[in-house]
Every structure is written in structure tokens, then in C-alpha cells.
């Protein structure tokens, strides 16, 4: 193949693309360590003369960033747990039990995957308002305990189907209840699928903006994306340059996702590929 004949030529576009992807990050990292006097200068400094490490601490003092981070952890954590729990139970039901209308109901699950949630946004808001859930985390958490996220149900069911039925049956012979079979046979074998669901659920909830924007009004309840937006508005309003702090804050919010990717790369690829190729 051509790659084998001139491999070095191919490094050119790869390096170029790599620079395009990573360049903006480097600029952001550089900016986040700048001194305020190094922000509004032309030509811009690509890297600070002296690293201002305290910028990254400053962020936590200038805005209730610690509070936002804690809120994000609570909301994301609760949503991810709910998503894993309900996804597992529902997928188990679809994968291992025969009941009337099962195939029809599973088609319904699949068809909700293409339903844009903007269509449901307004009535959902009105329902949660009726329930008195506005300005609380419930609208951001509770649906995940009720099987929100059809794609994850699909993914988990597909995975359960690959586990041989014989395992269930021999356990049933020993008198195990179906919940026991799920817990001690199916789940231990499903760790890769569980990890995939956990990772993608985490990323989606951590990044979630429109939901919190609609449901949370009190600043103390903001999650990190809303907090960042709040910080941006505050920063824009003042006269002194705040871009270095905004950049430090943006990077801070990005770190969990990036870390997760670096440590669990193979689950990312698996999850994306499962969604893409078999979907």
C-alpha cells in the first residue's frame, strides 16, 4: 500500500491535523496561566512570561465554583446511577423474558431514539412545574430512573443477548430467582457494557446545558456548565480582563471527561462503534 512506500509523506497531514486539534488547547492553556496584564496585548503572547499558577486557584474564589462543581457531581452522579440501574433492569426484561407485546414495545424504545427531545421540552417543563419540581434537580435526575436514554437500553440488551442462555438456566436449576441471576451471572459478565453506559451517561450529563438552563433559577444551584456561563457574563460585565480565569475555568470543567477518555479509551471506541455500526 502507498503508506508503506512513502510513510513519511503521510506524517505531514497527520501532524497538520494534530496541530489544528491541539493548537486551540495549547493557546487556552497558555492563556490560563497569563498575568492579567498579558491578556489585552498585541501581538498576543503565545505563552506567559511567568506561569501564574494562582489563576487556577483564583477561579475557585472569584465565583462559587466549588459550589457549582459539587452540584455537578451530585446531579451527574445521581443521573448516572439512575441510568445504569433502570437501563440494566429494562434491558434484562427485554433480553431474557417472553411476554406479549415485547417486540412491539422494543420497537417503541427504538423509535424514541430518533425523537428530538425539543419536541417534548415544553410539556415536560409544564409537568415538572405542576409537580413543583422547578428550580430543583429532580427534572435532571428522576427521568433517568425511568429508562430515559433509549440508546443505552438498546446497547445493554444487545450485550445481554450475547451471554449464553445456558448460564441462566443452570442457575435457575439451582433455584436462583431472576434478580439473583441478573446480579450474580449476567452483571459480572457485562462489565464492558456497564462501563460504556456509565462513561457516556457521565459525559452527557456533565455537559448538559439546556436542561439546567431551563430548570435551575437560583445561582447556588447551578451546575458547572451554567456556572461557566454565569462566570462569562460576570467577566464580560467588568472592566478588568478575566479571560485568563475563564480559560482556567473552561479547562477545569473539561478535565474529568478528558481523564475518563485517557483511562478508558477502549470503552469509548466500543460504545461509539456499537452505536454506529449496529444501530
Amino acid at each position: 500500500m502507498s503508506a508503506r512506500r512513502h510513510p513519511y509523506l503521510l506524517y505531514l497531514p497527520v501532524l497538520l491535523l494534530g496541530t489544528l486539534f491541539i493548537g486551540p488547547f495549547l493557546w487556552t492553556v497558555g492563556s490560563s496561566f497569563k498575568h492579567p496584564t498579558e491578556i489585552y496585548v498585541f501581538p498576543p503572547l503565545l505563552w506567559p512570561r511567568e506561569m501564574q499558577w494562582q489563576n487556577w486557584q483564583e477561579v475557585w474564589i472569584q465565583v462559587p465554583f466549588a459550589r457549582f462543581a459539587r452540584n455537578s457531581v451530585v446531579v451527574t452522579g445521581a443521573a448516572v446511577v439512575g441510568q445504569i440501574l433502570s437501563t440494566t433492569l429494562v434491558a434484562y426484561g427485554f433480553a431474557r423474558f417472553r411476554f406479549p407485546t415485547r417486540d412491539f414495545l422494543f420497537m417503541v424504545v427504538l423509535s424514541t431514539m430518533i425523537l428530538p427531545f425539543e419536541v417534548l421540552l415544553i410539556p415536560q417543563f409544564l409537568i415538572f412545574r405542576e409537580l413543583g419540581w422547578l428550580d430543583s434537580y429532580k427534572p435532571l435526575i428522576v427521568p433517568f430512573y425511568f429508562g430515559a436514554g433509549p440508546f443505552f437500553i438498546f446497547l445493554m440488551r444487545q450485550f445481554f443477548l450475547t451471554i449464553p442462555l445456558d448460564l441462566d438456566q443452570s442457575a435457575r436449576l439451582d433455584g436462583a430467582h431472576s434478580l439473583r441471576i441478573l446480579w450474580s451471572i449476567i452483571l459480572p459478565l457485562s462489565r464492558p457494557a456497564l462501563a460504556t453506559v456509565a462513561i457516556f451517561s457521565f459525559l452527557a450529563n456533565w455537559d448538559s446545558f439546556l436542561g439546567p438552563l431551563i430548570y435551575l433559577n437560583t445561582m447556588e444551584k447551578y451546575t458547572l456548565p451554567l456556572g461557566l456561563r454565569f462566570f462569562q457574563l460576570v467577566a464580560d460585565a467588568g472592566g478588568a480582563p478575566r479571560e485568563h480565569l475563564l480559560m482556567a475555568a473552561s479547562l477545569t470543567v473539561s478535565i474529568p471527561g478528558i481523564t475518563l477518555f485517557v483511562v478508558a479509551q477502549k470503552y469509548f471506541v466500543r460504545g461509539i462503534v456499537l452505536s454506529g455500526i449496529k444501530g
Binding site: 503508506a3 506524517y11 497531514p13 497527520v14 491535523l17 486539534f21 486551540p24 488547547f25 487556552t28 489585552y40 496585548v41 498576543p44 503565545l46 433502570s86 433492569l89 434484562y92 426484561g93 427485554f94 417472553r98 414495545l105 424504545v109 424514541t112 430518533i114 425523537l115 425539543e118 419536541v119 417534548l120 421540552l121 415544553i122 410539556p123 409544564l126 409537568i127 427521568p143 430512573y145 425511568f146 429508562g147 430515559a148 435457575r172 436449576l173 431472576s178 456533565w206 446545558f209 439546556l210 458547572l224 456548565p225 451554567l226 461557566l228 456561563r229 475563564l246 480559560m247 473552561s250 473539561s254 471527561g257 478528558i258 477518555f261 461509539i272 462503534v273 454506529g276 455500526i277 444501530g279
Partner: protein
């Protein structure tokens, strides 16, 4: 009971289960799927129908919904100045951004599929932008695009180009958002899906072309491209839906401006619903959006018959 189950299993799965056991199994199945079933009814099915009903009413939250016939739809299609504009901008964003994104992702995937040394590292580098939370991405690019002190115009100045105002310019705000979206998506899921597609192309096909003396372009055009066309189709469908739903980045970096230059459809819907509380009208906007998405997806599925090749199918 236990004995029955045991004998049933020993007898092999071909044997019919007794009716009571079948019922037991069905009940258990329903119990397991019940979280989804309840959630579906409460948070999907009911809102779906309610949204349809509300779209025919005048409802501003403070009073009861008043039936208004097709007034909301008429208003959207013929009275609302921002409706067609926002639709046009959203389509421009998708029609320009999605093909560029697919081209970029495919290029990245092809390069990573050459077995170069350091591929793993490059894959990580390419993937990183897609992990940036959208609000962070918007803030990061706002600073890059900063007309006077940003790095982009500085680099452009170095090669003799007087950079535009980017996000603050009426002409350049929409292209700026497309650039941001490309940076955030090209090396992400789309690329990984292409990679998997490329790895699924049977090696024998390439070898066959080599025996016939075909070059790299011939291989790409007549083997790779047809073989990965289903992957491309999938990316296209998801890409278009994603692009038409653009909201967060525009909300954070331009708030739809300047002079409505980036006022996208969902931004319009959001503003009508949650700023002006025109819930009836916004529901009509939501339903029109739903119809547009379905129509667009349907058209793409129709068109795909002419260019998507499924290896398992005959002729």
C-alpha cells in the same frame, strides 16, 4: 413448582412451558421493563401528545390554554419574521457544516488507518476536542476569535491577512460557529465510526485491485468508498440531525447575534417558550421542527438508495 422448572429445562427448550410458567415469565418481564414503561408514558408519550395539543392553543402559562385552531402555525409560516430566517440559517449551518465535517472525519480516519507509528497518540489528539463540554468550547473559541487580542487574527496578520471580527461580525458569525463545530466534532465519534468502517473492509478486495494494477486512488474510489458508504450514510443522518438542533454554542457565544446572524431554530423555540412563555406558539414551532426532521431524514433515506452500497445485498 421447582420440579416443573427443572423437568422443563432438562427436557430441552423445545418443550412447551406450562401455561402458569409462561404467565410467571411474562409478569416478571413486565416488572423488569416497568421503569421504562412508566417513564415512557409520563415523560415521552404524554408530552408528545400534549405538545401536539398545545400547538393548537394560545397558552402563556398564566391562564388556561385557549384553543386557537391553526393560528400558531399560520403565525409561524406567515407572520413571524424570525421563523424563516432562523430556519434558513439553521439549514445553512447544516448544509455547509455537515459535509465538511464528514469529509474531515473521513480524512482523519483514513490517515489513522495507515498503520503509521504513533497512531494511538494521534487518535487521542484528534479525539480531545470532542470531549470539551460545549460551554467550555464556546468560551475557548470566543477568546481565540477575539478580533483584537485573539490568536487567530494574530496568525492571519502574520501571513498578511486582515482578520474579520469573527463572532462579532454579521457575515462571519455563522462561519465562526461552523468552524467551532468542526473542531469539536471532526475528530470525535464520527471519525471513530469511520475508522471502524474502514477496518471492516475486506483486505482481499484491496489485494484484488493490486493484482489488477490499480493505484491508491482506484482503491479508494472503487473499494473503500462503496464499502464504507453505509457508515457515511449513518454519519450523515446523525450529523444532519445534530446540526439542525444546534443551540448551546450559539446561545453561549453569540446569543443569536449580531443582528440575528446566528439566530438558529432551537434558539428561537427556546426564546419563545422560556423567555416569552408563548408555550402554545413554541409547541407549534416544536412540531414543525419535528416534521422537518422526519421529512429530511426520509428524503435522505430515499436518496441513499442511489449511493449507499450494502455488501450483503444482491445487485
Amino acid at each position: 413448582m421447582q420440579g416443573e422448572i427443572a423437568s422443563d429445562i432438562k427436557g430441552g427448550s423445545k418443550l412447551r412451558k406450562p401455561a402458569s410458567l409462561k404467565r410467571q415469565e411474562a409478569v416478571a418481564g413486565f416488572i423488569y421493563i416497568s421503569p421504562w414503561l412508566l417513564g415512557f408514558l409520563a415523560f415521552t408519550a404524554f408530552p408528545f401528545l400534549a405538545s401536539f395539543y398545545l400547538s393548537f392553543t394560545d397558552y402563556t402559562v398564566v391562564s388556561q390554554p385557549r384553543f386557537a385552531g391553526f393560528a400558531n402555525y399560520v403565525e409561524a409560516l406567515s407572520g413571524d419574521d424570525l421563523f424563516w430566517g432562523s430556519l434558513r440559517r439553521t439549514f445553512t449551518y447544516a448544509v455547509v457544516g455537515v459535509p465538511l465535517g464528514i469529509l474531515g472525519s473521513l480524512t482523519c480516519a483514513l490517515l489513522l488507518n495507515q498503520g503509521l507509528k504513533g497512531t494511538t497518540l494521534f487518535r487521542v489528539l484528534f479525539f480531545l476536542p470532542s470531549l470539551t463540554p460545549l460551554v467550555a468550547l464556546a468560551l475557548l473559541w470566543q477568546w481565540i476569535f477575539q478580533p483584537d487580542f485573539g490568536v487567530l487574527n494574530f496568525l492571519l496578520a502574520k501571513v498578511g491577512i486582515d482578520g474579520p471580527g469573527w463572532l462579532s461580525s454579521i457575515e462571519w458569525a455563522l462561519p465562526s460557529l461552523i468552524i467551532m463545530a468542526l473542531w469539536g466534532t471532526v475528530g470525535g465519534g464520527q471519525m471513530v465510526i469511520f475508522l471502524a468502517g474502514l477496518q471492516g473492509v475486506p483486505q482481499e478486495l484491496y489485494e484484488a485491485v493490486e493484482i489488477d494494477g490499480g493505484g491508491p486512488w482506484f482503491k479508494f474510489r472503487h473499494v473503500t468508498l462503496p464499502m464504507i458508504s453505509p457508515t457515511m450514510f449513518f454519519n450523515l443522518i446523525l450529523g444532519v440531525i445534530g446540526a439542525l438542533r444546534v443551540f448551546t454554542v450559539a446561545y453561549v457565544s453569540t446569543e443569536g447575534g449580531p443582528a440575528y446572524a446566528t439566530w438558529f431554530y432551537i434558539l428561537h423555540l427556546y426564546t419563545q417558550a422560556f423567555k416569552y412563555f408563548n408555550m402554545g406558539y413554541a409547541s407549534a414551532l416544536a412540531w414543525l421542527f419535528f416534521i422537518i426532521l422526519i421529512a429530511f431524514t426520509y428524503l435522505q433515506v430515499r436518496a441513499s438508495r442511489h449511493w449507499v452500497f450494502y455488501a450483503g445485498e444482491q445487485g
